[in-house]
Amino acid sequence: MGMLIVCQDLWKIYRLGDVEVQALRGVSLEIARGELVAIMGASGSGKSTFMNIIGCLDSPTRGSYWLDGLEVARASQDELAEVRNRKIGFVFQNFNLIPRTSALENAQLPLFYRGLSLREQRARAAAALARVGLAGREHHYPAQLSGGQQQRVAIARALVSEPAILLADEPTGNLDTESSRDIMEILDRLNREDGITIILVTHEAAIAAYASRQLLVKDGQIVSDRATPVPAGSR
């Protein structure tokens, strides 16, 4: 199985007036298909910057990044949009659903920008909602759904484009314990049964325990990279 993500010596340097901020300082990393990786680190450690680059929302200052065999470090804005649309699914801490727009339409959104027919968009979005256990709630608005359900809509939206990788940034940060467990079980199942590669940012050890591999980021560098002997999800 080939490597899905290959990062070599990634640097991200911001210039704030005269001050130079080195958010990433030479990160190298390989992630194989089917892994469930947890990235941990304090705020300001550079893990958000790293996730933004992995998610093609940002480009590194130096270094190279291959995603699914494609060098994207020097890609243009439109090329990055295309990569995000086809290869990456995002799940955010605050769900980031479009308000006053139905679950189905939220889940449709990536396909909307792919220019598919309306019928196909709807069919695939409905299937994705069913995969996260929301069949029958297609026409609910985000405000009519619980936090856990909203996050499941967000997972459906991430799944709908059948991405190579699912990026979850503190996916349970705004949820209670029970909903958190639901969400993690869904992600774990998607990883285990459907073989979807998942990168998870979290600061909770209980959540990180679902991962087969844990990375620790500190001062813009990966300081620890270890496999978890018995992933929590296999209990």
Binding site: N52, G55, L57, D58, Q77, D78, A81, E82, R84, N85, R86, F90, F92, N96, L97, I98, P99, R100, L109, P110, F112, Y113, R114, G115, L116, S117, L118, Q121, R157, S161
Partner: protein, 411 residues
């Protein structure tokens, strides 16, 4: 792309209907601007058409020559203050200027005419037969005054519609009956088709025509034989009018033995001169109102831009989400442009309805003629589209350039 545009239009309608009051107020500027343009243009067009009809009612390619001011020993007579034109001038003009297709002359005076037990004061015109052709008079019944009538000095008369209404009962046929002008009996040989108001606002149908020769000898009298109140001439083509006017001036100055330093003792007017004054007035009015309407559209456009900027700020996070899941710059740009154009187009359509109703109300209430042209509606439609496009561009561009990372974090 088809599904994308369609869904974006639906989304735009949904976003706007969510905030109806705001959308309505935003549109108001466009509604008023477009409504004003439609109403103004239709009033302007109506006025122009009315003026054109009035000018056309003078006749076709008509040149009117009036006796002018003469100065005798320092006393200046006003226009028409002296009798300087004669039938001989008319014959000479016709002979010397091939450009003229027809010449005619007339003299007039207000007289009492009597039919049965009714009487009416009306301008009685003694005319040469060519006059009726030049002025484009047509007949409701009967026929024209001919050269035979002229040569014989026949006592025959043509009556205008207003005269008929005042001297005859409704339904009564005037042709063949006898009327008296200054106690001289005349046979009515025709009734003229109505012409309506003149460009100066007088009733052109309140008129009686009799042969010039009869008028001169039996009714109106004369200072000297052959003196006329006005000469008329016409050309075949409107383009010949300026040349004909110059030729007439030259011939008449020669006949009247005017020295080069002397002023003309006559005045020449053409239909074009008369039309110009009227059209100038209505054009100035139209232009002024158009300026006011344009300002209203401009203000309306700025209103749209303002509310879209607010909308972009409010929806920063939504824009971030869209960019994150793969929207390209042009997708975001298109979305907000379509929202802007939806606002301006709905406003434009409402404005068209308002303008048409306004124009019709003007006709009903003020009695002004209005013409609603398809072109003005089309222009208003396209213009409101352009306003949306132009004023939507800046906010849409702002949305499309948002940084997704910051937009996603926006509270």
């Amino acid at each position: 792309m088809g599904a994308f545009v369609l869904l974006t239009i639906l989304t735009a309608f949904r976003v706007l209907s969510r905030n109806r009051l705001r959308a309505g107020l935003t549109m108001l500027g466009i509604v008023i601007g477009v409504g004003a343009v439609i109403a103004m243009v239709s009033i302007g067009e109506g006025a122009k058409a009315a003026v054109q009809a009035q000018v056309a009612s003078i006749g076709t390619n008509v040149i009117i020559i009036l006796p002018g001011a003469t100065t005798v020993g320092g006393v200046r007579g006003g226009q028409g203050g002296a009798v300087t034109l004669t039938t001989a001038d008319a014959f000479d003009l016709k002979k010397k200027i091939p450009l003229l297709s027809e010449t005619a002359w007339s003299k007039r005076d207000v007289m009492q005419i009597v039919a049965g037990n009714k009487n009416w004061n009306v301008p009685v015109n003694g005319i040469s037969p060519g006059y009726l052709t030049i002025r484009d008079w047509s007949y409701a019944s009967g026929g024209p005054i001919t050269q035979v009538d002229m040569d014989a000095g026949s006592r025959v008369a043509l009556l205008g519609q207003t005269v008929v209404e005042n001297l005859f009962e409704p339904g009564e046929e005037p042709v063949g009956s006898t009327i008296r002008i200054k106690n001289v009996p005349f046979t009515v040989i025709g009734v003229l088709a109505p012409k309506g108001q003149s460009a100066q606002g007088s009733d052109q149908d309140d008129i009686v025509f009799i042969p010039f020769s009869t008028a001169e000898r039996k009714v109106l009298g004369t200072q000297f034989l052959g003196s006329v109140a006005a000469l008329f001439a016409s050309t075949d083509h409107p383009g010949d009018l300026p040349a004909a006017v110059e030729a007439i001036r030259e011939v008449l100055r020669g006949r009247h033995r005017l020295q080069p330093d002397q002023q003309d003792d006559f005045t020449i007017r053409t239909q074009v001169d008369i039309g110009k004054v009227q059209e100038g007035t209505s054009q100035t009015l139209t232009l002024m109102m158009f300026a006011v309407a344009s300002i209203s559209l401009l203000v309306g456009g700025i209103g749209i831009m303002n509310i879209l900027l607010v909308s972009v700020t409010e929806r920063t996070r939504e824009i971030g989400i869209r960019i994150a899941v793969g929207a390209k710059r042009r997708h975001i740009l298109t979305q907000f442009l379509i929202e802007a154009m939806t606002l301006s187009l709905v406003g434009g359509l409402l404005g068209i309805v308002l303008g048409v109703l306004g124009a019709q109300a003007t006709t009903v209430i003020a009695g002004w003629p209005t013409i609603i042209s398809g072109e003005s509606i089309m222009a208003a439609f396209l213009f409101s589209l352009a306003v949306g496009l132009f004023f939507g561009l800046y906010p849409a561009n702002k949305a499309a350039r948002l940084n997704p990372i910051e937009a996603l974090r926006y509270e």
